[in-house]
Amino acid sequence: MPVINLWAKEGYLSTPDGNSIYFWGFAKEETGPALLPGPHIIAKQGETVTVNLFNTLSEPVSVFFPGQTAVMVEERPVQPQYINGRLKSFVNHAEPGGTVSYTFTPTHPGTFVYESGSSPHKQVPMGLYGALVVRPADYNPDVREYRTAYGAGTDTEFEREYLLITGEIDPQLHQAVEEGRPYLVNRYLPRYWTLNGRCAVDTMMMDDVDYLPHQPYGSMVMGQPGEKILMRYIGAGVDNHPLHPHGAHTRVIGKDGRLLRNGGTDLSYQRFTVLVGAGQTYDLIYRWEGLGFTPDNPIPTTLPNLRNMGIGDAGWTMWSGSPYFGVKGDIPVGVISYNEFGEYYFMLHSHEELQITNWGEFPGGMMTWIAIYPSLSPDIGVLK
């Protein structure tokens, strides 16, 4: 039976424009850093999960699990908590310095969020949220037909999978919490937008880079042509975000942890923009196959002299210098190319365009890439 320990703690997250922002997050261990988002909880359908919450913050904290039923504390269903007759938490909480232990058994596979149910208007934007992924009971990553989001026979097989959790940050409200001033939620005005707790361009960095100790999860989506890439979107903030991947439509196969199927009727659909509402989750398959252009089947236009074109205006590019997949070309002197061996990069971003800034400066915010590689280790795109 999996046991997950979450330590509610304070910490400082980093933004690419050099800001350092006080936040609250869940740590994996007592001495570990608070994380944004909290550690991924990977559970299995039918297997009981215990989540122990240790609260080191100065006010009651709880964890609730939207989409899960029969969540128990001390063998009784979780209950709202009142202090002096006023609602304090949607579920049983841990007092400052205290603990609480939740137990539940996921009855169906899917993508879910977990988040604080105590003053959630403040504690969730402060960072007390994370992802819960429930594997189907027959899940077996080593066998193709059992490596699925929703179980064998549901047409939800995938080669690789990624979590993309949206959030927003109003640094002035965070600072108010840090300084013990009132949290004036009516003045909420986000300046940063996050995927997996990071703003672009940090979203492009690998997992567990040591200069982002509180933000361990990258958001680069990587795969090969034709592969089914499962993307699990979670709306963990308080706003809705229209996520738009370039290069292909996504096929929405699950929503709110439920397979899009009624009996024998497949209700999945394709979209080029998916509005991820607050608290919603989406499971999507992204598949890019390409149009078959190669040096032997060349593109039907003539590229101008690249010295006459804009390349790497930001000082860097993700481009290979060639229109062809797996081919490296020339990049102008002075431009850094992060292209490794001719892979293709497709932007994935919020189409509320102001959200792809860091406090107004593009590029930033809720933006990352889908990178399609000629070949890629099977270890990439594995949820841990």
């Binding site: 005005l189 300046r191 809705n240 229209p242 738009h244 370039h246 290069g247 292909a248 439509h249 009727t265 497949d266 209700l267 999945s268 659909y269 394709q270 979209r271 080029f272 923009t273 509005l275 890019w288 196959e289 390409g290 149009l291 252009f293 593109i299 039907p300 236009t301 003539t302 590229l303 101008p304 690249l306 006459n308 074109m309 804009g310 390349i311 205006d313 930001a314 860097w316 590019t317 993700m318 481009w319 229109p323 997949f325 293709y344 990069y345 497709f346 932007m347 919020s350 189409h351 509320e352 365009e353 102001l354 959200q355 792809i356 800034t357 406090w359 107004g360 593009f362 590029p363 890439w369």
Partner: protein, 332 residues
Amino acid sequence: MATVRKRFGATDGWVVMPDSTRHYIFGFVDITGVPEDRIFEYRGRATLLAPLLQVYEGDEVYLTLTNLGFPNRPDLDDTHTIHWHGFPNQIPIWDGVPEASISVPVGRDFTYYYRPLDPGTYIYHCHFEPVEHIQMGMVGPLTVRPRLEIDLGGKFAYNDESTAFDREALVFLTELDAEPHYLLENVQEFDWTEYSPEYWLINGRSYPDTVRPAADPSLPMQPYSSLIEAYEGEKVLLRFVNLGYQQHSIQVLGISLKVVGLDARQLRGYNGEDLSRWRNAIFIAAGQTVDAIFTAPSAGIYPLYNRNWHKNTNAGKSFGGMITEIRVLPAP
């Protein structure tokens, strides 16, 4: 299938709102077929919306972007691109994302190639510093017509006879925050997290300009009308596009809309099930498109408006903003 050759210039210009305010924009202008020695006459003549790009499924589309520069901001030498929003299996060289391919400096050309394989309602826009360039007006409509129209004659939204219609209209939604337009005109920076529009536009105009005719001489840079006219009993396809930075909820008073397509995909299940649905409000997020068909009821005026009521204003004054009219005429 046909070969389509188009040439769009990127430049700047001006738009006016019904309260007589004038706003600086960036945008595109159609210079297809203009002799090389005359293209600079189109500097400063960007339109909002950008020219309609309309092609058939299977066409070969060569779209040349020429950066004409900004005569009102000669210091601003931004590059530009064209991003065909929603084009499946695109390769980066024609995807218009400058961080992953090429952008076009002032005085240069670049030719994009598309072979649209799927019909539907799409969008194109500049993807260079998209926060700024999209709000400044580098946005355009793009429709891919289905092969069925060639095979059968008549008009269809998708390759399915159930999507037949008699007339079509574009309902292209954007917002305008006057402050960044003013600041960019005056070589100043804007903090985009302060974005707070006070004009809400359909096809680049705010009500009551929306119901003026197309190519109205008082609106030289805003050539699109959104006055929708039909005879009783005709089927009308509305192609909704949201290229603003807000979510919108559009209603038509007295008319229900049947949504037949979303994001350039017909609403069909994997086994062909009819998943089209009736709606009284078209809720549409930034970057989405919706295709909806209605049958024109008895003669009269049917207002189309934004149910986010504050968006039916011009700088706070009612009525304005995202309102237009569907005028149904008696059958001839």
